[in-house]
Every structure is written in C-alpha cells, then in structure tokens.
C-alpha cells in the first residue's frame, strides 16, 4: 500500500505558494483543517484564492488568514460573522465571489468526478445568472456552472489511515469529502491516524486515491460558533 503520511502540517503545506488556489473544508467552524490553517498563517503565503463555504470568524479559521491579508479572493456561499472580512471587502482589498451553497458543493463534486460542468437551477433569474450559459431541459432553465480547478484541497477528517483513506464524523463531514476529491493535490489532517487495514473498507467515506498527504493533527480546539442547549 502506498504510504501517504507526512510529518505534520508544515510539511504538508510546504509547497503552497503565493497566488495558489486553495479549497478548505468545513461548514462554519465545524470540520475545518485547523492545523493546516495555522501552518498557512505561519508560512504567510499571500494572494491566495480560497474556496470554502464560509470565511471563519475574526480570530479563528480562515479569519486568521484574512487578518494577515493572505487572501486575495474568497469564493464562498455565506460570509457573515466576520468584521475584518467586511472591512476588507468594503475597502476593496478583498475580492469576493458569492455562489449558492449547492452550486459550491456540486462544483467540487464535478471536479472529483471528472466532469467539466454541471447544470443547476439555483440562481436562474437572479444576479448569479449574469453572463452564464442557460440551457432549458423539460421546460425548466438551468445555469451551466464549471467544475472547480484548485491547486490544493485541504480537508479535515475524524480518522484516516496511512493509505489516505478517510472517515468523517457527524456534520463535520460537510464539504470535506467533496473537496478531498477536487484538489490537484489533496492534504488531509485527521484526529486519529491508523495503519492501513485498521479501517473497515466498507466504512471509508473518501478512498485514499484522492488523498496525497495525510497527517495526524494535534491540539484541536473545535470551537463552537452557536452553542445552543435545551432546558430540561
């Protein structure tokens, strides 16, 4: 079995350079690649295009990279909860492309499935449709949206093995397996790294063929954005 293990986050992201296009998994702060984001902040690469559903909060997630002005362009579906993001957007320092969440997910899927484009009804008749090809199937209009083309996909899984197979936990799965399929180079950080053979092949969410580098992360904060509880 091919061994995909690297020593840690710094080694995993060592060849990411200024101007690269990155995909980062997660929904809000749930399932984000915390270790790789810290390493990217430390490496201080600039002019990045980041494809991620959200842009973190001011002091966590992609927000840490925004604070250092490492991000040139953000492609996301929802970017609230981030004052620094808002400041950079209004001042024109940051370029933002807002796209429907299902379109974002399916453009990742298309890249991983080797399909150049998808057709979706999301955004028909809105400003999202401007400049895009429209096709009519059975009386309904659909927008053609292209598969993403990313230099690196950076994802977080619960468990992984040395062959790069990944298993996700609960709703921290979200965009992670889709982005894992979509990067030219895919980096996976996992909470628990095990030897090949220890994960049941029937339980793998992302087959190792999609994963180029894997390491066991540490110090996961797993911050909760909206802690809500029920009264007993």
């Amino acid at each position: 079995m091919i061994n995909k293990v690297v020593s840690g986050a710094d080694a995993a992201i060592s060849d990411i350079k200024d101007g690269d296009v990155l995909m980062l998994g997660g929904f809000g702060l749930c399932g984000i690649p915390e270790n790789c984001i810290s390493a990217l902040v430390k490496k201080n690469v600039h002019n990045l295009t980041c494809i991620s559903n959200n842009a973190g909060v001011d002091d966590f997630g992609i927000g840490l990279m925004l604070k250092q002005r490492q991000v040139k362009k953000m492609i996301a579906s929802y970017v609230g909860e981030n004052a620094e993001f808002e400041r950079q957007l209004l001042s024109g320092e940051l370029e933002v492309d807002l796209i429907p969440q299902g379109t974002l997910a399916t453009r990742c899927l298309a890249a991983g499935y080797g399909m150049p484009a998808i057709f979706t009804p999301a955004g028909v008749g809105t400003e999202v449709a401007e400049g895009k090809e429209i096709r009519n199937f059975d009386g309904k209009d659909y927008l053609m949206e292209y598969a993403f083309d990313a230099d690196f996909a950076i994802v977080k899984a619960w468990k992984g093995d040395t062959a790069g197979n990944l298993v996700f936990r609960a709703t921290s799965r979200n965009f992670n397996p889709l982005m894992a399929m979509a990067g030219k180079v895919t980096i996976a950080e996992v909470e628990e790294l095990v030897d090949a053979g220890e994960l049941d092949p029937d339980h793998i969410h992302t087959p190792g063929i999609y994963v180029h580098r894997i390491f066991q992360g540490d110090g996961y904060e797993k911050r909760i954005e909206q802690r809500t509880v029920r009264k007993i």
Binding site: L98, G102, R223
Partner: protein, 220 residues
C-alpha cells in the same frame, strides 16, 4: 389581532403532513418544529448534511461536530443519517424534500422571492437559499406582512435583488394566509382573528385576490 412570530409558526405547522421530509430556514421557520401536531411524524433536513435533526442538546453534551445549518449545536434522532453537502443539495434538487419553509424580505405576486441581499448593506451571501427556492416543489414563506415603517412586503414585483423566480406557493404573515395563484396574485385564504379584509388589502401592495368569505385562522 395580528399573529406573533410563534403563532405564525403554529399556523404553518398545520400544513405539515405525516411522513414529510422538511427543511426549515432560520428565524420563524425554525420555530415551526415546536408546533408539529401530535401523531404527525416528520424528518427535518439540515442542509449542511443531516436528516433526522433532533432538539438542542442538554447542557454539557454539546458536540462541536454536530451542528445545523444555522451553526447551532443540535442532536440526532433515531433513524437519522449524515451525508456530504453535495448529496444534501442533491436530495433538495431532486425534490425528495417535501416541504421547505423559509423567511423573506419581499415576495411578489408572481411568486418571486428576495431574501438575501440589501443594496448598500454588507452582503453576507445566499447560503443555500437559492438552491432551495430553485428546486423545492413546495415552499411556504413565513414573513411579516409589512416592514417597520408599515410598508407592504408583498409587492407587484420585488425591489430587492432576487433569490428565485416564480417559486413561492404560499405565504403566511401576521395578518393572513395567502396562496400565490399560477396566473399571479395573492389569493386570500385565511385572515388572522379580528383582522379585516380591508386592513389586509391596505397592507398588501401586490394584487390581492378575495373570493367569497375568508375564514379566520384556526391555530389549533
């Protein structure tokens, strides 16, 4: 009396049928889950990748890996399932979800909806709203009939940037339940107890269609 937000949610809950898969948006729609009638079994879909969403966790048992589309900590129920975001929007696009309930800033008489962007204000993004409205077969909008200045939010055409076109079937506000007719127009189906047809007419800038007697809403 105009309905409270809770009462709007309570009225919408009566539209839910046994066996429905339902997606609830943020705001009033979330409250609908509190009023599901006894004996009605439904499954809530959260578009970040969960079917079978349960109530908020008991304090101390919050799980950072388990959240809803509003990023709130939640729980799963027996029979729930978890999947990635592409499958989540796949089941929405393929109309496997029976009912979508969401909020709106404006709805037009031909069923257009605007609920994601106000020009001049910081744009946060559409999230999953455009996917939901473009694909869902049955969408109910929960909204205020008029804004804080007393101006109608039910219009001939939306003034704000659109989220979707010709997609809304039913609107429930603090004043009324209305069906959007295929040929255009808000057909008044029910009115809030004690609210006159004239008052609803004054509060509706879009075309209001009134036929015969319009019964008062029953919440229970």
């Amino acid at each position: 009396m105009p309905l409270s937000k809770e009462e709007i949610a309570q009225r919408i809950a009566k539209e839910i049928k046994d066996g429905y898969y339902v997606n609830l948006g943020i705001g009033i729609p979330t409250l609908v889950a509190n009023y599901i009638p006894k004996g009605i079994n439904i499954v809530l879909q959260s578009e970040n990748g969960l079917l079978g969403m349960g109530p908020f966790p008991i304090e101390g048992s919050e799980d950072a890996d388990l959240i809803n589309a509003g990023k709130q900590t939640i729980t799963t129920l027996p029979g729930s399932s978890i999947f990635d975001s592409a499958m989540s929007f796949g089941m929405i696009r393929a109309q496997k979800v029976d009912l979508t309930i969401l909020g709106a800033m404006e709805v037009s008489e031909n069923g257009d909806i605007a609920n994601w962007k106000i020009p001049g204000k910081m744009v946060k993004g559409m999230g999953g709203a455009m996917d939901l409205v473009a694909s869902a077969k049955n969408i109910i909008v929960a909204m205020q009939h008029v804004n804080k200045a007393g101006e109608s939010k039910l219009l001939p055409t939306c003034t704000l940037p659109l989220t979707g076109v010709r997609c809304i079937k039913k609107v429930v506000t603090e004043l009324a339940v209305m069906d959007i007719l295929p040929e255009g127009g808000f057909k008044l189906v029910e009115r809030a107890a004690g609210v006159s047809i004239e008052f609803i007419q004054q509060s509706t800038l879009g075309k209001l269609v009134v036929e015969g007697d319009v019964p008062e809403m029953q919440l229970n």
